[in-house]
């Protein structure tokens, strides 16, 4: 027993050695920032847009923090087998980032379910993680998910996960309010049985009941089913005049929209920001969406951004020659908030380590960015609460209402 203890002490020291080396390696003036976003599957267009945003933020600081050069790597967290984010790939990305001592910031993920996998790993390693797109409240707040959430994501006890996008407790409520505004009385709530979709559908359902809408049914769909004609019939029977689906383009929102039309259901269709991408319109075909689909989004149409956001929009179009997807500006903002924390440290002469960067990002207050002026609260969430409701017209999103 004693020998075993001594031996494990040796092993432990041996394992520690490379960690001690971290300080030395950082002096070699290279900083790595990585992103883990879905590159395989229909979310790719959205991801390209976010990655462009990240690159623009890095270009803004001239690719350098002090004397250190920034190296950015764009990682994929999806797999062809799933055509969507893959838990195994996301876990591997987190491990890879942790083991590469030059990595000082991890930008990701797109899907809240993926963050569940990487958050505890990165937190234990003290590596700061900023998500441009996760909206599930349970990742940072108590009372929205399991009993042990969000503590289970913070094994070190410190906050290392931040997000620049408003969460679904805001989004679901805005959606329900809007449903009432457009005269809906009976709603049927579906979800895709993923962290994000289930979460936002639950908030919608609760809010809908609170403001007097009748919830005539709920169900979780099979995201790999070939069609949803049978469930559409069930909805038709329930007399619902609005169908809310907590899900994403990748979890078959497009097929559902089509089957609502082909099944002769004359209800409106409402989806959250996971569908706020051109790929959703392509998957559903705009004929199934025009005039009957409503998409909520934690922000505004990029075209309508003001101040620094407007500068971003114009510079994006100039650099990449196309319209940014909805989340491009969030990719930009996520990178920007990390970089500005690093710059503050560098100016103050504090060495850049995983811990110093994490602590500095947490201090972000009254940050003047492309999304307005906002701060991170004690949970690591943004104080920004801007939401919009969008429709579809001529194959493109059209902003119908903004709630601040």
């Amino acid at each position: 027993m004693k020998i075993k203890l001594i031996r494990s002490a040796f092993v432990f020291t041996a394992l520690l050695a490379p960690l001690v080396g971290v300080g030395g390696a950082l002096a070699e003036s290279t900083i790595k920032i990585v992103s883990s976003l879905p590159r395989t599957g229909s979310a790719n267009a959205q991801t390209t847009s976010m990655v462009n945003g990240i690159k623009m933020a890095i270009a803004d600081v001239g690719g350098k923090i002090g004397d250190a050069t920034i190296v950015y790597e764009d990682w994929d967290d999806a797999s062809p087998q799933r055509g969507n984010w893959d838990p195994a790939v996301e876990a591997a990305n987190a491990d890879k980032a942790i083991s590469d001592e030059l990595v000082l910031a991890y930008i990701g993920t797109y899907n809240s379910g993926a963050s569940k996998i990487s958050m505890p790993k990165l937190n234990a390693a003290g590596l700061v993680m900023v998500s441009p797109a996760n909206t599930a409240p349970s990742l940072t707040k108590q009372g929205f998910g399991e009993q042990n959430e969000p503590a289970v994501y913070r094994p070190s006890g410190k906050i290392s996960y931040f997000r620049v996008v408003p969460t679904d407790d805001v989004q679901g409520a805005v959606a329900a309010d809007y449903a009432k505004d457009i005269g809906s009385k009976k709603v049927f709530v579906l979800n895709d049985r993923e962290v994000y979709g289930k979460g936002v559908a639950a908030v919608f359902e609760k809010r809908a009941k609170d403001i007097g809408l009748e919830v005539v049914g709920t169900d979780g769909i099979d995201t790999k089913a070939s069609n949803y004609k049978s469930i559409v019939t069930k909805i038709k029977q329930s007399g619902a005049d609005l169908v809310y689906f907590g899900g994403t383009t990748q979890t078959n929102a497009g097929q559902l929209a089509k089957d609502i039309v082909s099944g002769g259901l004359k209800a409106k269709f409402m989806v959250p920001d996971g569908c706020y991408e051109q790929a959703f319109i392509e998957a559903a075909g705009s004929r199934a969406l025009e005039g009957r689909a409503f998409i909520t989004f934690g922000g505004e149409d990029p075209k309508k951004l003001q101040g620094k956001g407007k500068e971003f929009y114009e510079s994006y179009k100039k650099t990449y020659g196309g319209e940014p997807e909805g989340y491009a500006v969030y990719g930009y903002e996520a990178a920007k908030v990390v970089l500005s924390a690093m710059e503050r440290l560098s100016k103050a002469g504090t060495p850049l380590t995983r811990e110093s960067v994490r602590a500095e990002v947490a201090k972000t207050k009254d940050f003047v960015g492309a999304l307005g002026t906002w701060s991170f609260d004690e949970n690591g969430d943004t104080t920004n609460r801007t939401m919009s409701v969008n429709g579809v017209k001529d194959g493109e999103f059209e902003e119908l209402k903004v709630v601040k």
């Binding site: 055509g83 169900d219 769909i221 049978s230 469930i231 019939t233 097929q255 099944g263 998957a283």
Partner: protein, 325 residues
Amino acid sequence: MTETEVFMQQVIYGLSNGMIIALVALGYTMVYGIVELINFAHGDVFTLGGFLTLTIVGALGAAAIIDPANLGDSSHWLLLFALVIGAGIFCGGLNVAIDRVVYKPLRRAPKLTQLVAAIGVSFILVNLALFWGGAPMEVFGGGNAAAASKDFPELLEGRNLLGEDSNVVLRLEDVSIFIITIPLMIALTVFVKATRLGRGMRATAQNPVAAKLMGIDTDRVIAATFMIGGFLGGAASVMWSLYNNTISFQMGFRAGMDAFTAAVLGGIGSMPGAMVGGVLIGLIRAMSDQYIETRWTNVVVFGVLILILIFRPSGLLGLKQREKV
């Protein structure tokens, strides 16, 4: 909607989905009946059929053909039959080629080797579909997102045949599935029962060695089986694309799983079994979505499968097979 209307509607959807599953299931069951191989690549051959269909539709993309105003005239039916035959021949040929290149050299190898080879072929085909999805055509979304689901244009008029006021919806898509599937099944049954090649197939299924000794060219019989199985899969892929208006590189996974389940449920190796099994699975799915909950549908389907296998281990219409390992 009244209860009866709801039930009628679910029967229509169940039958439509079930017929498509049955067509794919025939491909599994025929191949299994002859060479005792579970051809896991069959679902992915089906996927490629869907991709070929969309490619042809995209290439013909002249407004005259896909113009919504013209939907429903006879040229569409002609196009539909041409697509079924085109995709059928393509998938059949592909199936035969796979057999020639991969399965044939392994015919005497242990069953497990053949099974793993089939899974390998399945992976190759999935990735081929993924590659195909990046084709630079307008119907493929310009080729920007290979893995994204592709919108399949509506080739049939979407009008409700029971009248716009009717609560029960019956569209040409549903009808076209019956119009194409039922004759195919009848033709297949007649072919197997009444033709020389069909008799050869039955003989080979019963005892390949004896069949060979009797002068039946078993290699030719096997190739014909793969051809017919593939043809039905290809026809099913056209119906599927038309019915769901979406194709994706993963469509064969679910369709293949449903079809395989149907084949086992009906008794693998039995052709009427596959037809009954497919329709039954379609109906169970629809009824479970309606009367239980969608989230439980897969549980219900496989629960029924297990129950049936407990009481009839060789499936609903399966015969007691001789032990042959």
